[in-house]
Symmetry: C2
Subunit: 521 residues, 2 copies
């Protein structure tokens, strides 16, 4: 910008009282000539945000959006009829139906006069009776209207409900509503914590590789250092404590303080589920080195194999009980959950929570202040957290339907996951771990030299090249492994297994064979 | 933290294969002894967030929350029966009813099977017919479910609706859906922009004083420099262009680049409404110095006097037309609006939008990326933006009721605002500007030396002291002027005029007289 000097200053008083040509009212201004300044470019912006990357909605999904428009305008020019959205876990965009009970309750919260029509609506079969009862309870807790700001931390009664759920889930390890913060999805909880805990450029944030790119993006935005710990693909993407501790020691040596360890369980994009033992080892490292554990547990209900989900909180309490000398008493753990995943799939409703365990009051106050600046999370999203965690109970009118719906959604996901997995198993040049949890597969692509060279000549990463060709040929939109992180020289693709039907899987198979034939060395 | 060294590293492989004592399953861990690390304190956190202040939910509102609990437990110990929440513009927490049409539509969006019961619900009087029609249109635009993530920028059809509203509001100055970003309230829009535009500690952000503390909090969090321009209380808190330009020139001289000017119109907390002429002057400064205009226009429908709201966009287009040499073509303007204010008052639903005008494509892409990382704003909030801006039209079944409700809410606010204003006018030691817009009064307190000394002896700002005493005596919760900024040596209090009834106003009057009698010099 060309700096201005005092001589250039406009004479407001003069111009508005004397020189200005009035056109009748106050609708004209000084006509003094000036050089318009230039517009801002990327160089003028916060560099940390410029540098942040988020592949889930990166180049390939953006191209898919363009193709979608093209499809609606000139469908004949493309070799497919529809875009298959497999880049983002967004079940209700595909054919997943919301849970009936949840939506009946929230519709009443949105329009409480429906309470006066209970008899009519139950008789006609539009609603179940327990939906009215639950809505009345929630309305009372919320204070009468979902249109009012709640406390920054969230509606107290809903936080009590969340605490009750955690206590049940963790087999009696109690939780307190004072430790629950209701947030707009889990993403908001993660960014609150990382924005506070990323102190400066000597702060290290440990993340699994591969990981959900919200974490790398946040670390970049908050100007801290990413400390990767690599998951072991060959053993089903397992987490190795020794790898983590080595990273801690190495980081401290080079002056980076490991401040947070992000644990995604079940894993995104890997689907791996952590054992009790592995979690205990991670907590031991956290206790020993004073590292905050950020547990992304949003897929805790998406478990498909004969494995069990152990919450980090439950394991922590167990360790604390087993170590009466207090070795684990200082562990600081934040566990996040969301209405977007599980069988709820209410992504667009932005419900979520975090439970804070072991943080000092000082730190909690800072988190509360940050939440206060955002005022509150969406109140209907808060209600959906309650409804996801506390479904109708046996004997309630909605119970059977609700159980059936939850089971069906769960089984559907499992079936699709395995169908895709089985397909990959048959194919040349693709290696896939068995799905354990979450809603993704992250197969490894064994690409030929020819394919890698072709990619390079186009200025693309090899897996990016594969995903582009997959999209161009079949309309299937995925994300290359490079967006999640992977070991040097390996290539992957992340796909959800949410898309309905089987045709897209067949299309992928056909594409894959042709791709491998074309680029065979 | 005591640094660890390699010698201290646990022997994971050994411990998990040999030394560990199994208790039957994988539920035990290495029993190696270690010193637990200390917990984090404020010094370990991001200093910019520690330093941020947000008085709207600061010390006095927090005390009010405690008193509320005390009231429910031991009501006889307090000199009042209820807390009057006047610290935050949260109409539906008080007695304001949501607009019927909006809520009917959103309830159907939440539970689309209601569409099958249209006849029954219209016949019984539960719903108006046009609610079903509108819900069907919105559902189609949304893609079938409010539970799916939308595009990061928001649902396209709703953005079209917003653009149509802006075009009507601005008397034919057209708007484009491509320029609209739907956001979780206006706060989210403001923080997106400021986080991107606060490049570093040489970036200056101009804000009016007094201001809504989201702005000062964000500037602190994003590590830039606050450049205040003082509003002129005596002329009804008017904005003076010469004051702004002087600040620009002074800042450039000391090496701080003025990058953004925040304009709150109608003002919060002042309620002042800017004239066309003043807006044009601000835009001239923006054009000349290349300063982005961040227009907080969330109170555009809360106008009480015979004044007219001019959007900055409309004024900009008018200037651009009047200056064919392009002096104003590079102006970069972001205008924000919200469902929380106006007669909508849907605070807890987190609906909002920003319109971006004149930004380079490069900058827009960064804004879009940041929105993508948050995935999307709550979809029902997006729908409420549409419903707020496009109410039923003449001839629609809901038209008359909707007009009546909107008028009643508006008039209620106006009546209460003037009632409070008239009360302040009668009182000693308090000077209040006439309410023009928004939902607040920001009277000046002329405090005695005795009161100021008493405050100092308690370690409080004088206006903070007044607000504490007001809360302790009457249960009325307000925010001291120091939370919004004020000229050195002046003291104010911000109160909403939303609380129902007149008793709290009488209580305030009684308190004020007693306070002034007690601390008379």
């Amino acid at each position: 910008m060309i700096l201005s000097n005092e001589q250039k200053q406009m004479h407001w008083t003069t111009s508005s009282s004397k020189k200005r040509q009035h056109t009748g009212d106050d609708s004209t201004v000084s006509g003094l000539a000036f050089e318009p300044a230039r517009k801002l470019g990327a160089d003028d912006l916060n560099k940390n945000i410029i540098d942040a990357e988020y592949a889930v909605r990166g180049a390939i999904p953006m191209k898919a959006e363009e193709l979608e428009i093209q499809l609606s305008q000139q469908p004949d020019l493309l070799p497919f009829n529809a875009i298959t959205v497999a880049n983002i876990g967004n079940p209700q965009q595909l054919d997943q139906k919301p849970l009936t009970f949840s939506r009946q309750v929230v519709s009443i919260l949105q329009y409480p006069p429906l309470l006066d029509y209970e008899e009519q609506l139950v008789t006609s079969g539009a609603y179940k009776r327990d939906a009215f009862k639950r809505a009345a309870v929630l309305l009372e807790q919320i204070g009468g209207s979902v249109g009012a700001y709640s406390l920054a931390q969230g509606v107290y009664g809903i936080r009590e409900s969340v605490a009750d759920f955690i206590t049940r889930r963790d087999e009696g390890e109690t939780a307190s509503p004072d430790d629950i913060f209701l947030t707009d999805g889990a993403s908001k909880a993660a960014t609150y914590l990382l924005s506070i805990l990323c102190r400066d450029s000597s702060t290290g944030i440990m993340i699994p590789i591969p990981q959900y790119p919200l974490y790398t993006a946040s670390i970049t935005m908050y100007n801290s250092v990413m400390l990767p710990y690599y998951l072991d693909e060959e053993s089903g993407w397992s987490t190795k404590a020794e790898e983590i501790e080595q990273q801690v020691i190495d980081s401290i040596k080079r002056g980076v303080t490991p401040r947070v360890i992000v644990v995604i369980n079940p894993g995104n994009p890997t689907g791996a589920v952590l054992s009790f033992d592995t979690i205990a080892q991670i907590l031991t490292i956290a206790a020993k080195y004073g590292i905050v554990v950020l547990a992304d547990e949003v897929y805790q209900n998406n478990i498909y194999k004969g494995v069990k989900f152990h919450s980090m909180k439950k394991v922590l309490r167990s360790l604390q009980r087993d170590h009466p000398n207090g070795e684990y008493d200082n562990v600081q753990l934040a566990s996040m959950h969301s209405t977007s995943k599980g069988v709820s799939g209410e992504c667009g409703q932005r419900g979520g929570y975090m439970e804070l365990v072991g943080f000092s009051n000082e730190v909690r106050q800072v988190i509360l202040k940050l939440a206060s600046i955002s005022i509150c999370s969406v109140v209907t999203g808060q209600a959906l957290v309650d409804l996801m965690l506390n479904p109708p109970r046996e004997g309630d009118d909605s119970y059977e339907l609700d159980v059936r719906e939850r089971k069906e959604i769960h089984n559907n996901m499992k079936t699709r996951g395995y169908l895709l997995y089985d397909t990959f198993q048959k194919l040349e040049g693709i290696e896939c771990q068995e799905p354990q949890g979450a809603m993704y597969l992250f197969p490894k692509l064994l690409l030929s030299k020819k394919a890698i060279e072709e990619a390079k000549s186009l200025g693309l990463q090899p897996d990016e090249f594969y995903c582009h060709r997959l999209l161009d040929t079949t309309g299937i939109c995925t994300v290359p492994g490079s967006g999640f992180g992977q070991k040097e020289g390996t290539y992957h693709v992340r796909t959800t297994f949410l898309a309905p039907g089987t045709q897209w899987i067949k299309d992928w198979e056909t594409f894959h064979k042709a791709f491998y034939d074309k680029y065979r060395d």
